[in-house]
């Protein structure tokens, strides 16, 4: 490649393109001589295409097929684009040189960071519209369509009956809006040559993101004013005539271009008043498409009228324009939606001019539009009313208006000198901060805007054009939009973590990740025929009132209406499809079982309350003496969550949705997977027991040294163990919970590691004796550990209360660290003892320094976030169910889940266990642990600062440099209490296991996205055992948990069982865990073992690929079979003796193993 030359050419190309663009734009917007305009357009397009072809980029319509070279080219193009901009830069704020700009950009704050800016540039390069084949195709079609529209002969004037009859002959049904015009309508319908045909919208403005599935081109046909009368703005008359006009165009186009193109009717933005005509290429046969894919474009033909056709004053939102037959007086309620729908028809061209003006005046306007469009798309907002009514048009127009005014005393809210990122962020900020339903935003002077109503419709009053820009925005979508804007603003303010992905890349709209709870209601049962919009508003109001503060967001999604054929009538809204309601719950209040209503003395409110709740409302007297209307729901243990009860009752009462089939409810099923409830409350008795234990220890007065700290260091003591400890009395043996104790410093400790460990035993013996003397109902024992490693902790004290809670006390002595470190630095020591010192130090830090610190941090987080405890436990269960719990340490799992809570972007902090779990899964599935460290702020209050993150990243990079093959450290998980990042991931999991974790998470996420509401939560927790080479089925007697009870011949062991349960001697006896540990030590080199604790009664294994046949030698670390080699020299080879190993495992396991199953792969 010869970059300089080609770059120069590209530069020319781009800049010339822009100049042409300007020319074409002006002509497009001009009112007269549309013909000429189009010719010019096509002329310039052709020219551009030539250029494109010269560089070989003109033939791409499928982005996925693009190869490396195009990418290069593209980079060149964007670079060239930047250079070009620099040349033409007139404002001093614009960057000056190619390599310098970002620095200055960062310095003056116009971008968040360099990485962010570079990513935004890259993104813009990817989504900027390009001129490819589909554009060429679409444009030639535009040209033909325009010609044919102009050749359609005039019709009429007809009466309504004649008009319909006339068009039936052409097999076109007039798409009249509901209600249909009266049969005896006096006015006449006619068609005449359009005053103007023009292309508007994102295509003309070059703000259409390339990532859209279809290329959509909006083409407006301005109806001549002669067709209308002065009063046509009343009573739908304009819309009837418009429908007739559209039908005439359809009929005309059907004869001219109907062969090559497919013509259908559609509702513009799902606005029932505004049908449009969609033209798209006919789908070719399947075998043909395989060779030439059908160009993906569609043209919307939108009839409209001139801006001055009807008086703007009459169409203000506070006026009534649909007079009912009964009373003709002026006191009728206003019809804002109707008025604005009509007004928007008149303003099509005006807004085009506004946007065009903005893009000329402000250089980064187009880029900011693209960013906005991407942001909206990822969050499921579109101009279409079923998707919220806030789409890229509204975004662009809002920005354009803000560039002109809106501020105090009419000053612009945005400056033209802003960068695209600043424009984007400022617009978001505006949406986030201001509530337009309460305080309308007014642009321009003159007459003041309309008053706000309590309907929840936001008002952006464009005084120049006398129009509410947000008239199509639904109340629920507006609320959600504001929340999303707030979330993104917070995410962008995060100085430590890059928020680019969460802002622009992630699909936020995936319902199961976004909402805590989903309902699906068949549209049929809502009887939406009469007024679909009104009915949805009613649904929203009822849910909002019924759920109150239990939910923070209610979003209603409707499947978009289909297009329909020219000859058939418009399909009835709500005849098919379903309505999905997404709820974001408020974790603190969602489970409240008693609701308080108004006081009995307040008659008016009581009546209203009774009316809303029907027979559910009860009058109750409360402890404080007040007598209130109230609602009582049954506790969630009854099988249905309170939320579900409320929803079912309210919808049944107001919409007659009584049967279970009427509503599909999803949410809360995940929590049922957790035994003992997802609540933190289950841990409280155990925590109380711990407090008692701590006090008991502190009350020991005769200790030789005073106590400095007693710190818990166990998942059970941070609300994070899969099983709730001490749940259901004697259902299970208590699992000892680790606790560390630190004494005040003393010079009498020996200065030798081995002797320190012995001294600790002496201390424990002393504590033991004192406890026995002072505390009742307590059993204490001293146990030994780390046998054979005399520098490590040798003993612990088990303290058992009433045989239902056991605490395992270890002594923390801070001198050990120094001694280990000294040994590590000692150059005269032999490598072996240094290795022992290294592992000893790591273990010491883990057990005595980091574990207590994180236990404290996580316990605090669990009290702060209600859903965290449940999410952690569910996530642990997930890892255990997939037999990964002996690889992924509990602590790593906790970090993963906490990440979802402290860096929740692009969502808010999860308020239910379900979203906490699913979002964590989704993050794991995308986590590229090869290159990204996991860094979590456990303080959740910004204690983790940039320099610390920098230190952690440096650590991570050092590890990757040291061990690029990731044989030792695959996952790297650090937090603000642990900068090392390898505390729990040194050695385990192996790379292959980490890969399996990612693969399992990906599979689970695919399942979630595919099944949606039909998702069976249990399905995410199972994986086939066939993936493994061997499966050891364990004897259920020893695995504990449920399996024991389900044993058929349980009675034979009943007495043993009871004995085992009541006997405190058996606490901490885990034969399977011992067995697994021994297997790992004995066969670590040959076999990778998987175990999931009590979740699955199996141990599975994979043979290491390193055990393949090789030449025989003495020091192989696995059992072998000698095999004669094929070569003449008779080299003896060694095979892994799998059968002998399995036989050894069978001998070792004895009665622990029921069956060994071998899978041949």
């Amino acid at each position: 490649m010869a970059p300089p030359a080609s770059k120069k050419r590209k530069t020319d190309h781009v800049s010339s393109g822009d100049e042409d663009d300007e020319a074409s734009f002006a002509s497009f917007a001009s009112d007269e001589s549309g013909d000429q305009a189009n010719d010019e357009v096509n002329g310039t397009r052709a020219e551009e295409m030539d250029v494109d072809e010269r560089f070989g980029s003109g033939d791409e319509d499928e982005d996925d097929e693009e190869d490396e070279s195009t990418e290069d080219q593209e980079r060149g193009q964007t670079k060239a684009g930047a250079e070009k901009k620099d040349k033409s830069a007139s404002k001093p704020t614009r960057p000056a040189k190619t390599s310098q700009p970002s620095i200055s950009a960062l310095a003056n704050g116009s971008f968040k960071s360099n990485v962010f800016k570079l990513q935004v540039d890259e993104l813009l390069g990817q989504i900027r519209p390009r001129h490819g084949k589909r554009e060429t195709d679409a444009e030639s079609a535009l040209h033909t369509i325009k010609k044919s529209i102009e050749q359609i002969p005039p019709r009429g004037p007809f009466t309504i009956a004649d008009a319909e009859r006339d068009l039936i002959r052409d097999k076109v049904a007039i798409p009249f809006p509901n209600p249909r015009p009266p049969k005896d309508a006096k006015y006449k319908f006619a068609y005449a040559k359009p005053a103007n045909v023009n292309v508007i919208g994102s295509y003309a403005l070059k703000t259409a993101s390339r990532s859209k599935e279809f290329l959509e081109i909006d083409m407006v046909v301005t109806m001549p004013g002669s067709l209308f009368e002065g009063k046509d703005y009343l009573n739908h008359r304009y819309f009837y005539k418009r429908a007739y006009y559209l039908a005439c165009i359809a009929a005309g186009l059907k004869t001219s271009v109907g062969k090559e193109h497919c013509l259908r009717f559609k509702l513009f933005h799902d606005n029932p008043l505004k049908p449009v005509l969609v033209v798209r290429p006919i789908q070719k046969n399947l075998d043909e498409t395989s060779e030439v894919p059908t160009p993906k474009w569609r043209i919307n033909i939108i009839p409209c009228v001139a801006e001055n056709q009807f008086p703007a004053e009459k169409l203000r939102p506070d006026r009534n324009c649909v007079r009912s037959q009964q009373h003709q007086d002026d006191g009728q309620s206003p019809t804002p939606f109707y008025n604005s729908s009509l007004r928007s028809e008149m303003l099509m061209t005006s807004y085009l001019k506004l946007l065009h003006g903005a893009s000329k005046a402000c250089e980064s306007f187009v880029d900011a539009c693209l960013l906005g469009a991407t942001w909206l798309r990822q969050r499921g907002f579109q101009s279409s009313m079923d998707c919220g009514g806030f789409g890229s048009f509204e975004w662009n127009a809002l920005m354009a208006l803000c560039l002109q005014g809106g501020g105090p005393s009419g000053k612009p809210l945005l400056s033209e000198g802003y960068s695209s990122y600043q424009l984007f962020k400022a617009t978001l900020q505006l949406l986030a901060v201001k509530d337009f339903t309460k305080q309308p935003l007014v642009f321009g002077e003159g007459n003041s805007g309309p008053k706000t109503t309590d309907s929840g419709v936001p008002i952006i009053w464009d005084a120049v054009r006398n129009h509410n820009l947000f008239f199509e925005v639904t109340p629920w979508a507006y609320k959600l939009l504001r929340q999303e804007a707030r979330t993104t603003i917070t995410a962008l303010g995060d100085q430590v973590h890059d928020s680019f992905d969460s802002t622009f890349i992630l699909r936020v709209l995936e319902p199961l990740y976004r909402y805590d709870c989903l309902l699906e209601i068949p549209a049929k049962s809502l009887s939406m025929q009469t007024g679909p919009r009104e009915r949805l508003v009613q649904l929203y109001q009822v849910l909002r009132q019924g759920l109150g503060d239990r939910v923070s967001q209610i979003n209603i999604l409707r499947q978009p209406l289909d297009e329909w054929a020219l000859g058939s009538s418009q399909p009835l809204a709500g005849a098919k499809g379903s309505i999905t309601v997404g709820l974001m719950v408020n974790g603190d209040t969602a489970r409240r079982t008693v609701d308080h209503g108004p006081s009995a003395e307040n008659k008016a409110e009581t009546a209203e309350f009774r009316k809303f709740w029907g027979e559910k409302a009860e009058l109750r007297r409360f402890k404080d003496g007040s007598i209130l209307e109230s609602l009582v729901w049954s506790p969630p243990e009854s099988g249905m969550s309170v939320l579900e009860q409320v929803i079912r009752y309210v919808l049944g009462h107001h919409f007659g949705l009584v049967t279970v089939d009427d509503i599909t409810f999803f949410g809360g099923d995940f929590t049922k997977l957790l035994r003992g409830g997802s609540d933190r409350a289950g841990f409280e008795p155990f925590m109380a027991q711990y407090k008692k234990f701590e006090n008991d220890i502190r009350d020991l007065h005769d200790l030789p040294l005073s106590i400095r700290h007693i710190m818990p260091a166990d998942p059970q003591l941070r609300f994070a163990s899969i099983k709730v400890p001490n749940h259901g009395k004697l259902a299970q043996k208590p699992v000892p919970a680790d606790v560390t104790i630190q004494f005040e410093g003393s010079s009498r400790w020996p200065d030798d590691l081995v002797a320190i460990q012995r001294t600790k035993i002496a201390f424990l013996l002393k504590v033991n004796d004192l406890l026995q003397d002072t505390v009742d109902n307590v059993t204490t024992r001293i146990g030994l550990e780390n046998e054979g490693q005399d520098v490590l902790n040798q003993a612990y004290l088990d303290v058992t209360y009433d045989s239902d809670a056991t605490f395992r006390l270890r002594i923390y002595h801070d001198r050990e660290q120094v001694l280990f470190e000294r040994k590590l630095k000692d150059k005269t020591a032999d490598p072996k003892s240094r290795e022992i010192a290294a592992t000893g130090l790591a273990k010491y830090k883990r057990d005595f320094v980091k574990n207590p610190a994180r236990t404290q941090a996580i316990a605090r987080l669990c009290t702060r976030y209600a859903a965290l405890s449940g999410s952690i436990r569910l996530m642990k269960k997930w890892f255990a169910s997939h037999l990964l719990s002996n690889h992924i340490a509990d602590e790593v799992t906790e970090l993963l889940v906490v990440r979802t809570f402290t860096q929740p972007w692009p969502w808010q902090v999860p308020s239910s266990v379900q979203t906490g779990f699913l979002r964590t899964l989704s993050w794991i599935s995308r986590w590229d642990w090869r290159v990204d460290p996991l860094i979590v702020d456990l303080s959740a209050s910004g204690e983790l600062k940039q320099p610390q993150v920098q230190a952690i990243t440096t650590n991570f990079e050092a590890w990757r440099k040291l061990d690029p093959a990731m044989n030792r450290v695959a996952l790297f998980a650090a937090s603000n209490v642990d900068f090392d990042g390898t505390t729990w991931t040194d050695g385990v999991p192996a790379k292959v296991v980490a890969g399996r974790m990612s693969a399992l998470a990906k599979a689970a996420c695919a399942e979630v996205s595919e099944k949606l509401l039909l998702l069976e939560p249990g399905a995410l927790f199972s994986s086939p055992l066939e993936d493994f080479d061997l499966v050891l089925h364990l004897n259920p007697i020893f695995t504990g948990g449920k399996a024991r009870k389900s044993m058929g011949n349980g009675s034979a062991f009943k007495n043993l069982e009871l004995e085992a349960l009541t006997d405190t001697d058996m606490i901490g006896h885990e034969p399977v865990r011992n067995f697994l540990n021994e297997l790992e030590v004995l066969y670590g080199a040959a076999l990778l073992l998987f175990y999931g604790g009590t979740e699955r009664p199996v141990i599975t294994g994979l043979w290491s690929p390193l055990t393949a046949r090789r030449s025989w030698k003495v020091n192989l670390s696995y059992s072998t079979i000698p095999v004669k080699g094929k070569g003449e020299d008779g080299d003896v080879l060694a095979d892994l003796n799998k059968d002998a190993i399995l036989a050894e495992i069978a001998r070792l396991g004895g009665d622990l193993v029921e069956k060994i199953e071998v899978h041949k792969h």
Binding site: Q126, A755, R758, A762, L765
Partner: protein
């Protein structure tokens, strides 16, 4: 895996005899299997006086005990008598090493350590209670079998050779069922019980250890004091720890040096001279450029990894 027939298995490999052991079927793995034990006369790099009567075994089954080996040779391979068996990686002295003279953790030293008397006392008195009733050995491990005399060792190897030639049926663990502690859950239960020793026993062990440790420490201090006071045979006084002015630690000296340097630097404030300010600014600009280049590289890498950046 294709079944390995006996014909394919060589009778020797390098200098090792390949002795097939028949492993009886187990309830959980009902298949009779063959384990291969490799034997040869021991030939360490540094022979000791015992070397002639030693046999070196490779690929010892994980559950082998001394009794297993004894019975294997006594009952099935000609009746050679064994003095002792040292397994690879067996814990020497159960991890109790004397605080001063570190015990070499070499293999083959399980039995009969002949250290000096002081060591021996510390080790013996300081032992913590045993927590396993039966040791295991890592898969593919080795062992040194010491026979009572050289003829026994020779006999054992000869018998093994003959058994291989005759394809004799040698079964592992024959007739030992009740003579050794059982495996499986019983073993773990015993382990669990042994982990919680009697408190008085524990106290006694700790007391003994601490007493020995204190004595040893004292002896060491005395020795050091002596070394400090008396020149050695070449007339030098050994520099030892614990004197009135201990030898300076290297780290401490370095730390002090750093501190001094820093103090020197702090004396002149960083923004006193104009050139300092100028250089600082230059440095900052350079940092920015470096950070920018770093970021650019990062994004490039990200692109390479994930493909183009585009919304999902």
């Amino acid at each position: 895996m294709a079944p390995i027939t006996a014909a394919k298995v060589p009778s020797t490999v390098h200098e090792f005899l390949v002795l097939p052991l028949r492993i009886p079927a187990q309830p959980s793995f009902p298949k009779e299997t063959t384990h291969y034990l490799y034997l040869r006369a021991n030939a360490p790099k540094v022979p000791t006086e015992n070397t002639p009567r030693e046999v070196f075994a490779v690929n010892v089954p994980i559950d082998a005990t001394e009794l297993h080996i004894r019975s294997l040779f006594a009952n099935q391979l000609g009746g050679a008598r064994i003095d002792s068996v040292a397994f690879e990686g067996a814990r020497v002295g159960k991890g109790i090493s004397a605080p001063v003279a570190p015990v070499k953790q070499g293999k083959k030293r399980k039995r009969g350590i002949e250290g000096n008397d002081e060591d021996a006392t510390v080790e013996e008195v300081g032992l913590l209670p045993e927590v396993w009733d039966r040791e295991l050995h890592r898969s593919g491990g080795t062992a040194v079998i010491t026979f009572v005399d050289k003829p026994s060792a020779d006999l054992a190897l000869k018998e093994a050779r003959r058994a291989i030639k005759n394809k004799a049926d040698i079964s592992w663990g024959q007739g030992l069922r009740n003579k050794i502690p059982p495996l499986g859950s019983a073993r773990y239960l015993t382990h669990h019980k042994m982990r919680y020793p009697d408190h008085s026993e524990l106290q006694a062990s700790v007391d003994a250890f601490m007493e020995a440790f204190a004595a040893q420490e004292e002896a060491r201090t005395k020795m050091l004091a002596r070394q400090r006071a008396e020149p050695d045979e070449d007339g030098f006084i050994t520099v030892t720890r614990g004197g009135r002015v201990g030898p300076a630690r290297e780290e401490a000296a370095k730390a002090k040096e750093e501190e001094l340097k820093k103090r020197e630097k702090d004396r002149i404030k960083a923004d006193f001279y104009r050139f300092q300010v100028r250089e600082k600014k230059k440095e900052e600009a350079k940092d920015l450029v470096r950070a920018f280049e770093e970021d650019q590289r990062k994004v490039e890498e990200m692109k390479k990894r994930r493909g183009r950046i585009r919304p999902e």
